[in-house]
């Protein structure tokens, strides 16, 4: 098990809290319903990541409680069973924007670029004026640490306003946000659906959800396997930009630009270095710290005219067909579930991604969209994180809707089906900073289409069998209904006793009457 202090060694800080305050909408804090879902999302993502990092099967408790008589005033509580946060990191974790352990790495990431949990603190502070309560305990502490955290916006710094030590034998982290200007809806856009989707895409997570009316929902885990952690992958030369290259050069351990490039980029060999030297006027022996903007630009321009092997995909961690099926089965209790995980592909010439789809039929699958009759429901994910909003302009939705569903025995209006789509990448091509919909990269669109059709074929096989069975049943009942009438009427016409029809019913219908 990883220790908390090791995990937080990689903690970095960026000063953008001011920026956030002015751009809350861009970060998902727009609208009363969405803002609440975003707070839940940040808290839950943080909780799951924390547990996984520590090698613990995540159990997350989420509660939303109404505060007093104001209808838009709530307390959001998120509690995990992870390894806790060392006290000295609390101001940074909850107080600084773009603070995270994964941001600086080129790695598949469930969170929202680390703006994450501190955004929740900021939102609470801005709407209710209240501090955020953080209760945490690590494996090497004897007490439980109780804190009230606020953000000093001007200095981009978290401040613990109050601190208490509580006695008790408990480990984990509990965060309590007090928010206003939000509304709670038990709808597609509300926290309930967000958690339901999270549970499907993360079958190793247990979630208990308490709604404002006190009702409890248990999303039980479907597997005891913690997914392997994504691995950082060095950036690929294709798609590299001058500023990115300069950022890397400032951080590298390498002593020369040449070794920096070969060590810190993927698929960049000594041979490629020789090829590059002919194309640019850059001293490859100089210290990388001295690399100028102009030189960086020469290098990335040259990259565009060079061929590189496609980047390694070992950093990508798809959920896997078996786990998707388990998640669908556990949460939707369907009559049938299937899943497809495609092989890695590359978009924009250098960014690897994987598309996964799943289909569930019957049970709690499908969405009635208010019509009373359940039809096709599309649930979208990026790196397992639910995409709830902006469904319309999303490549995942479009690819799914462009499939000719009738060919697969599915009537999008009438067949109770949930279609699961997950895109896995360390750089998901979002359409905007809101990160709720995926851009129409042709390769992504095509992969989604292929994956959806593969799952749809599996479903079709099942539905065909089901239809056959139903037809057989209907066929039998036709004969059971009408053959006795024929016998009775013949008897009436001929003034005779009605003959025993059952042997004939059995013979023709192939089933015992009343079976």
């Amino acid at each position: 098990m990883a220790l908390a202090k090791d995990i937080f060694k990689e903690f970095r800080e960026h000063s953008v809290s001011e920026f956030f305050r002015k751009n809350a909408a861009m970060l998902g804090y727009t609208g009363k319903i969405r803002s609440l879902t975003t707070v839940v999302h940040e808290g839950v993502t943080n909780a799951i990541d924390a547990a996984e990092d520590a090698g613990i099967l995540p159990s997350v408790y989420v509660a939303i409680r109404s505060m007093g008589d104001e209808s838009d005033h709530y307390k959001v509580i998120i509690e995990d069973n992870a390894s806790g946060i060392p006290e000295e990191y609390i101001p940074r974790v909850f107080g600084r924007m773009l603070a995270g352990t994964k941001l600086h790495r080129n790695v598949q990431n469930r969170g929202q670029q680390g703006i994450g949990i501190s955004g929740g603190v900021m939102f609470s502070q801005a709407t209710s004026g209240q501090s955020t309560v953080v209760v945490t305990s690590t494996e090497d502490s004897d007490n439980i640490s109780w804190n009230e955290v606020m953000i000093d916006v001007n200095r981009n710094r978290g401040e613990v306003q109050e601190h208490r030590e509580l006695e008790g034998d408990w480990r984990g982290t509990r965060v309590e946000f007090e928010v206003k200007d939000v509304s709670y809806r038990h709808s597609r856009y509300g926290p309930n659906n967000y958690l339901r989707m999270t549970a499907i895409a993360n079958p190793h997570v247990q979630i208990i959800f308490e709604e404002p009316d006190g009702s409890l929902t248990f999303f039980e885990r479907a597997t005891d396997e913690i997914p392997e952690q994504p691995e950082p992958v060095p950036p690929h030369p294709t798609g590299m930009r001058a500023d990115g290259l300069l950022d890397l050069s400032g951080e590298t351990q390498s002593r020369s630009v040449g070794t920096f490039l070969t060590n810190d980029l993927s698929r960049f060999s000594r041979n490629k270095l020789k090829e590059l030297e002919k194309k640019v006027d850059v001293d490859m022996d100089q210290n990388p710290e001295n690399l100028t903007w102009d030189e960086a630009e020469q290098i990335v321009t040259a990259f565009r005219n060079m061929d590189f092997m496609t980047p390694p995909t070992k950093g990508l961690r798809p959920i896997g067909e078996e786990n998707i099926e388990s998640g669908l089965n556990q949460i939707l209790d369907p009559d049938f579930a299937c899943a497809t995980t495609r092989s890695p592909e590359v978009y924009r010439g250098g960014i690897p991604f994987i598309v996964e789809t799943g289909l569930a039929y019957g049970g709690n699958a499908g969405d009635d969209a208010g019509s009373g009759e359940k039809g096709l429901e599309v649930i979208r994910f990026a790196n397992r994180a639910p995409l709830i909003f902006n469904q319309g302009g999303c490549a995942l939705t479009n690819a799914a809707e462009d499939v000719d569903w009738k060919r697969y025995e599915v009537d999008p209006e009438k067949t109770p089906v949930t279609l699961f789509i997950n895109i896995v990448s360390y750089h998901v091509p979002y359409t905007s900073a809101g990160k709720q919909s995926v851009a129409e990269e042709p390769e992504v669109y095509e992969e989604v289409r292929q994956a959806v059709m593969a799952s749809a074929r599996d479903l079709k096989r099942f539905l065909k069998k089901k239809i056959k069975k139903r037809e057989k049943r209907e066929r039998a009942s036709l004969f059971e209904n009408y053959l006795p009438i024929i016998a009775q009427k013949a008897a009436d016409i001929s003034d005779k006793e009605a003959p025993d029809i059952q042997p004939l019913v059995k013979e023709i219908a192939g089933v015992e009457s009343g079976e």
Partner: protein
């Protein structure tokens, strides 16, 4: 005088009972009940050159209770047969529409539309080779009017066709039940319109010609055609047809003569191949210099269709149709009024009937 057969309704009942006995036997042997129905699809309707009317070719379809698509219809057919049995036994009749509504109460449930229940009746008719009126089922439409020296017996009541008022004796849908008691007429003159009928009655032409004057009222009802057939067969009267001189008039005449494709399964009971079309012909239009209307596009189209129809392949028909196309005009029966109201009675018809 002759009747339409011993007792066609009893015959029909016997057919139904035989069929039903077979079904019981099938069931006792665990064999699926089946019924054979002459196919009424267009591919099976042919013009019989020898009989000179439309008839069904030999193709038959078999309905079996072992087919999931047919078992319900089979059960409905049995219900309909039982319904007919009830009608025959109680000596009642019902219209097709009444049967359609009655079917709501059958154990099979009713029909989706009256077409469907009508088709089941056609199945029974063609399968048992009986007429629907013998099954106690009647069409809605009234029969035609007859005026002339004819006495019939209907349900024990004798009716003289000259003593039933100016509108004459109305042919009932149950034509099979009508008994011909006495007939002094020597011919039948069937005319297309009630207007011409009244003209002939007013001028006492029925007496002058010694004819039964029949008003077809446009396209004649089954019962009217059945009457013409029986008058021709049983009373041995020649049948003359006088219609408007246009494609529709030709068609009315031809349906009386050769039967319609739709009723091909029953045409042997309806068609009068010896019936004689006397006019108005295209030649008449020219010879009598009749007032005319120009042919419409639809008339021309229809006339050209008639030329392709085997029923009109006879030389006189072809000649008249071509002549009408050539003239580009058509004329109504009433057009003879140009020469006075009586002209048609005093001049035209006697000449056509060979009476002067």
């Amino acid at each position: 005088m002759a009747n339409d057969g011993e007792d066609p309704r009893k015959d029909a009942l016997d057919e139904i009972k035989d069929f039903s006995d077979d079904i019981i036997e099938n069931i006792e042997n665990s064999e699926p009940p089946r019924m054979t129905i002459p196919s009424r699809s267009t591919s099976n309707i042919v013009f019989d050159e020898e009989k000179r009317f439309y008839t069904l070719a030999g193709k038959e379809t078999t309905r079996t209770a072992a087919n999931m698509r047919q078992v319900k219809k089979f059960a409905q057919t049995m219900c309909a047969a039982d319904f007919c049995k009830g009608l025959i036994n109680s000596d009642k009749t019902a219209t097709l529409r009444e049967m359609y509504y009655t079917s709501e109460g059958w154990p099979t449930g009713g029909f989706k539309s009256q077409d469907r229940s009508d088709r089941v009746v056609e199945d029974l008719e063609s399968s048992f080779a009986v007429k629907r009126e013998d099954l106690g089922l009647l069409p809605e439409e009234d029969g035609a009017s007859i005026f002339g020296d004819l006495t019939v017996r209907e349900e024990g009541m004798e009716v003289k066709a000259t003593e039933a008022g100016r509108a004459g004796y109305t042919i009932p849908p149950t034509m099979s039940d009508v008994e011909f008691v006495d007939c002094g007429a020597e011919r039948v003159l069937a005319v297309e319109t009630m207007g011409m009928y009244h003209r002939l009655v007013q001028e006492e032409a029925w007496d002058d010609y010694n004819a039964l004057v029949v008003a077809l009222k446009g396209q004649p009802a089954r019962a009217t055609r059945r009457f013409l057939k029986r008058a021709n067969n049983e009373l041995d009267l020649p049948v003359h047809l006088f219609t408007d001189g246009d494609p529709f008039g030709f068609h009315i005449a031809m349906v009386v003569i050769s039967g319609s494709a739709k009723l091909a399964y029953i045409n042997h009971e309806l068609a009068v191949p010896d019936a004689n079309f006397i006019g108005v012909t295209a030649t008449d239009i020219e010879e009598y210099d009749l007032p005319t209307d120009n042919l419409r596009d639809s008339d021309v189209k229809r006339l050209n269709q008639l030329l392709d129809d085997p029923r009109y392949s006879d030389g006189d028909w072809e000649k008249e149709i071509n002549k009408m196309l050539e003239l580009g005009t058509k004329a109504e029966q009433q057009a003879f009024s140009k020469y006075g109201l009586e002209y048609v009675v005093e001049e035209y018809l006697p000449s056509k009937l060979g009476l002067n």
